[in-house]
Symmetry: C5
């Protein structure tokens, strides 16, 4: 099947560039939803039109096509081969009637569908009465603006399908699609609950490169603190990354809780054979939390170092000021002393011998110079003993 | 029915303008209640007279009227149509006999009624023996004085009614009243327990715009820190908003606990069909807590930034002082040196050739100027190498 | 019955004036008790002699008298009317034989009696085998020295009596005594367990005026921070109040736990009809804790503000120093330059035209003045642009 | 029986003087034990030789003797009167064969004996299969070096004996020995489990004088902060005491947990009649923890005060500098101005009337003096308005 | 059997020298594993080739040999004596086919084998269905770069063997190997589960020397703070060690949880006779955590001390500046005053008697000198009273 031409990617790209603006928009959307009937489906005006991707597979093979705008054809394709499993991947929510058809066809609860569209949910799992699952994962990315951009992946599982929703055309799931395309992959041979696990796992594992990027940036900041030309905005940057690390921790915590809850679900909802993999997943979540914790500690230490260094630099400035002032202010006094105009004679020819007789001594000036040098030497010795002359570096 | 003329709104408005004064009044009221018999009903002297609003509804329609001052008519209206459900909304407590009649007619416990009147309760739920509920919610508002103003909404549920109390004429429930006015709304078709849920949900959702307002203000503060003319009171403002965020967290925590307790109640008290909505509510409470936590982190970072920036500005002041002093104090010494009056002759015609011979050299002055320039250049080079000449911005 | 003359109140008053000294005495008493046989009764040497107050009541009436020094008469009075309930209120422990007779008559355990006399117990509840209760409450007061003075109220309940012990003649229970004197009060009609509840409740409610006093003082401190003449000891005072708030929290926590434990006791120990009131009490304890928490936050913010303000004031001092020094030090150099004595002629009639020719120019001085003014103007402009000239207030 | 001469006390005294050195030795001992077979008994080379004390008692009397070096005689004495209870008190571990004989005779587990010798165990309780107990308590002392010196007391209970081990000749148990010597004491009449309780209780109660000493020292530090001649090392001392308080808290926590565990033991291991006393003990542990917590808070406040005071002193230094500099630097400029040598005539008889005509005015100097005084007055007024002239004290 | 020549140790040594680089490599490896099929075995390119060590033992003796590169011979040797127990120690993972053969021969789960190769697992225990255990321990070392270098030890237990994996040729297990070589050691006589315990115990005990090294370093830092020539990088070092201590705590926590979990395992997985040793181990883990906590407290105090000392040094610098400036700036003003050129006569012979008559007084200069000395004395007295003249040391 020939995939239809994809809609232009620009609007989506614009949106993901600015997580702060996105959060502000979410905040506003949140406000407008106050008092709404629960289960009311609303789509943000800037939501891109949905693209539909279908991967229809069994142990033998995998057919793959984009059905954007051709939902009826998609349904027909799926129904034509009822014995095959499939993954229907919906990206973008900008078409409410289509969303409602999907909800009806797949028998989804309006409250859950509302959670899909209001894409600021924490990671969680909910079980339908018929043991189908509704899973929410969050895909986190460390952007160039030092922000954590996180998108929601909503997963519905059924007996022979997995249905995923995301509000963006871009995601981190290609690695999984490739595994599905490979002949004899486990993914193709196992039940669709295993595909749901694999999706959860890929998203969770994706926290590692995100955290690695954060970790690299933290090391960069560390280097920056002791660099010669420290920037004033460094602390701002340190605190921004701290915010990111805290955010990551807040994203991973619910992931861990979600997996713990999956492990407690009855075997009808999640087969024991799949749970063994979720257990592995659980370890990963714990490790990711550990990493986030240690990043947080590192950043706190960085902030402490920054502030101490700031104070250190002030110290050094003060030392220079103090040394120079302490040396030259007394000298200035002395030379000022001999700049006074006390008269040696009173203008009427009477000598006033006590008025600055030094000025009339043949060696007055050389002796004074020697005294000045001795004063400087004494002071330098004092400062050297205090350790103020040696640089702190 | 023609609603009676509402009492003038002014006193109520005055009260809500000053949450601090309100809190002081509460503190005083609290003090006066010490040692009172439990269940003693006391009304604050400044309580506005109660207004009574009735919404009498069933799936077919909704009759709405204000019965302020006409409680008997209200009772008659309700009893005339016993098969319809109704919401009786009492605003203002300034009429103790009426309150006591309500207590008697609706069979409310004095301790609970005391909780209604002493409107500083945490969100909570209590169950009557006959499975009626007593719910307390708190409606929070971010005022122009940067305070969180929170009013209590007390909800009693019965088999076919919901009875609400609030001490103020203004509230955030109009959005719900509108939903009740709409034909075919779920609210009309479902049991009154669903209306109680909807009230709880609206109040909880109302935390979002409140938090959004706080969030916007935090971003304003963030901009303020790096602005050119930083105000000294900025930290005071940061800490005040921190107080608000902490207060919001303290308000939402009991809301979450309340909903968790509702979810654990037996189905006779809260039908399973309504619990599914409370579960959604629970997620919202968690998200609101999450938001409050991240605001708190942001504000702590802001305060750190403020203090570091303060120290930075001091650093800059010190650098200017140090550079200027370090350059000019030694120069002043040198020029002071040549301002000394050591005499080249002793007044009796004897030359004292060692006394400041420089002053008599043809190039004395130009050479000195060159020396001064060299000293300045040397110092500037030293400061430039230290990075003190480049601005930190 | 004519109450016997009360012992002079002075010693008791002296003791309550100085909680710090009291604590030191407690510390010493504690030390001396190390290794003592458990249940050893020791009375502090400064304990005032006990006064005995009896309130003998039933639904019909209440007889009240002081039996200080007449314990046998008291016993006779109680035994004469066995069908009436009574409250025996012992204030002051300075008479060990009397204490031991009370212990024997009321069948109290030595360990509990030891807890009564060592009056530094946390709030707690203990149950006798015969379902009598031993309750400890602490009555807290905010003194003029900014300390929390807390006295212990020990309550023993019996089938038809309540026996209370306190080491002081003053307490906060008069409000309850008045309720007992009122005809038809619930207190008289209900079992003595209700009186025990009422005592617990009054003491707990008494935390509110104490906290209100602390709260008022905190607001006073807040005003003090921005006042013109800030005192250096302000932080000391802030931290002392913080200590008080922490102390209050530590006092209320066990009260809450005590009430929670009472609620878990079997109905034989505490009738369900009384428990409903303890539940109300529990809410109050939670609210008091909430209040203490928010006071603690406020005080932390105050301390931060104080320190930032301290740094701000230093900043301002530095700015004044920097501006004045930066302006006048260079000027001083320049005028020093032209105070040098380089000679225009060498004393032998030879002109040295390069030595300070400016001094001989007709407009030398006016031009220099203009240059000085320009330098000042340039500096002022620089400082103005930096925002250093505008006050931070 | 004549007690054998005690070994010289000097080495023991030396060891307890230096808890830091002791801890270093422990650290090293710990390192050497890595990889050892569990249950390996090793004795530190500096362990003093064991002294054996026996108290053989029943309700009638108490025989007491030291059997140091005469273990066989001790065994004989005990076996001669099997119906009496006894307390065998071993102090010092410097004789491994003796330790091993004890282990064998009293049927002690090697792992527990290892815990006795490696005397850095936390307080704990272990139960043998035959319901005998192994208890570890820690005796804490506040030394003159501001350190917490804590020694381990290991207690083994048996049907009719208590066996205690300590590595030191000095302890805090004499108060208990005296109680055992007193005729008719409860200690003699009750089972040996009660003696074990009494030991535990005495050690726990001994935390109170230790904490009182710490508390007194904290108050001393408080006074030191506002003293005129504050020492620079004060913060070091504050932080050292903080360390002690934290250490005390860490010592008491396991004591509390130990007692809580004892209370949960079956009655065969600890009779109910003894548990009632442990419950009292539990309250003491909680109070000791409370005390430690409040000390910790006090110390944190002290450290804050110290730092604020430090900053305050700097502030004052800066103010003095600023006031003096601000007053005199401008004055110096002005007098420098009139120290310039601009010539009133050009040396060739031409008047240069614009060059410093002020110098030739009859009132030039007096007017200048007035101007200088006015400048000083203006500045003083400015500083007075800023509040810089009033001392902060 | 002659052990084959070991591969050159250099590469391994290089790797362990730089834990930071190692962590970066791990981070990258982690990133590359995202989306991989779970259970995928990947070996890092720099992994050293595996060396195989076999210890074949029973109560009678212990045969020991290296089988590097001769895995088949190893299998034969083991199978030849099926009644003996053995420990197979694999060091280095650089040979994937061998790893896969081991996995197959010992029936290991791919997910667990993946945990072995991705050697950044937390300490944990997993139980196979057949009650075999998979244990992960981490061996920590305090390196010369002030980093904690931790290597993973993976332990598989079987009915009569223990199989260990580590990625490095060096370890801390030699002490255990020596115990196994000793005749009649418990290790040889007990089941292989006891050997697994012994391995766990040795690794856990190894934390003590590591912590002792950290503790020694902390004391060194403490000395450094008060040393005369404090280095600016000291805080950096303090914070690095803090990071290490936090890391140690994070390493020991899972060890403790692992042992707690082992204690909860059924007796079929871990015999009760071995559990008694694990209980001892648990105490050690708690103690190690305690130590880590107290180190953390010490380091926080150190950082506080450092910052306070920094501020103290600034204080001292400021005092020197202030004293010298305050003394000499006023003096300079006075001598400047008498350096002014106000003319005593107007050049035309008219006397201007008010212009600086002091200059013409016979004792002008001596009196001025006295005045200057008095000013200095007054200032010194003022500074002495302020306590600024005495050093703070």
């Amino acid at each position: 099947m020939a995939p239809s031409a994809p809609p232009p990617a620009a609007p989506a790209a614009e949106r993901t560039d600015a997580p702060a603006a996105e959060r502000a928009a979410e905040r506003q959307a949140r406000t407008q939803r106050v008092g709404q009937k629960p289960g009311t489906l609303t789509v943000r005006p800037d939501a891109p039109p949905p693209r539909l991707f279908l991967m229809l597979y069994d142990a033998q093979g995998c057919d793959e096509a984009e059905y954007t705008g051709r939902y009826d054809e998609l349904l027909a394709a799926v129904r034509a081969q009822p014995e095959r499993r499939y993954w229907l991947d919906v990206r973008g929510y900008g078409d409410l009637p289509l969303i409602e058809r999907l909800m009806e066809n797949f028998n989804l609860h309006p409250l859950q569908m509302e959670d899909v569209l209001n894409d600021d949910q924490r990671a969680k799992v909910e079980v339908f009465d018929d043991n189908r699952l509704f899973l929410v994962s969050r895909m986190a990315e460390f952007t160039a603006d030092l922000e954590i951009d996180d998108d929601q992946l909503s997963i519905f599982t059924g007996p022979n399908y997995v249905l995923t929703f995301q509000d963006d055309y871009e995601d981190c799931l290609d690695v999984l699609r490739n595994r599905l395309r490979v002949a004899n992959s486990q993914l193709r041979q196992r039940p669709s609950a295993y595909l749901a696990y694999a999706l959860t796992d890929v998203v969770l594992d994706h926290y590692y490169p995100t955290m690695a990027a954060v970790g690299d940036y933290i090391e960069e900041l560390e280097d920056g603190i002791f660099g010669a030309r420290r920037e004033r905005r460094l602390l701002g940057r340190i605190l921004r990354v701290k915010k990111d690390v805290v955010r990551l921790r807040r994203l991973v915590y619910p992931e861990r809780d979600k997996i713990a809850e999956i492990l407690r679900l009855p075997d009808e909802a999640v087969p024991e054979a799949v749970k063994v993999y979720y257990r592995d997943c659980y370890d990963h979540a714990i490790q990711a939390l550990d990493l986030a914790e240690s990043y947080r500690d590192n950043i706190s230490s960085l902030a402490d170092l920054f502030l101490s260094d700031q104070s250190n630099r002030m110290n050094e400035v003060m030392k220079v000021l103090t040394i120079i002032s302490s040396i030259f202010i007394p000298l200035s006094f002395i030379v000022g002393l001999y700049g006074m105009n006390f008269q040696h004679d009173d203008g009427h020819g009477h000598l006033l011998p006590l008025n600055m007789p030094e000025l009339y001594k043949p060696l007055g000036y050389p002796i004074l110079l020697v005294i000045l040098v001795l004063i400087v030497a004494g002071q330098l010795y004092y400062f050297w003993r205090k350790g103020w002359l040696s640089s702190d570096d």
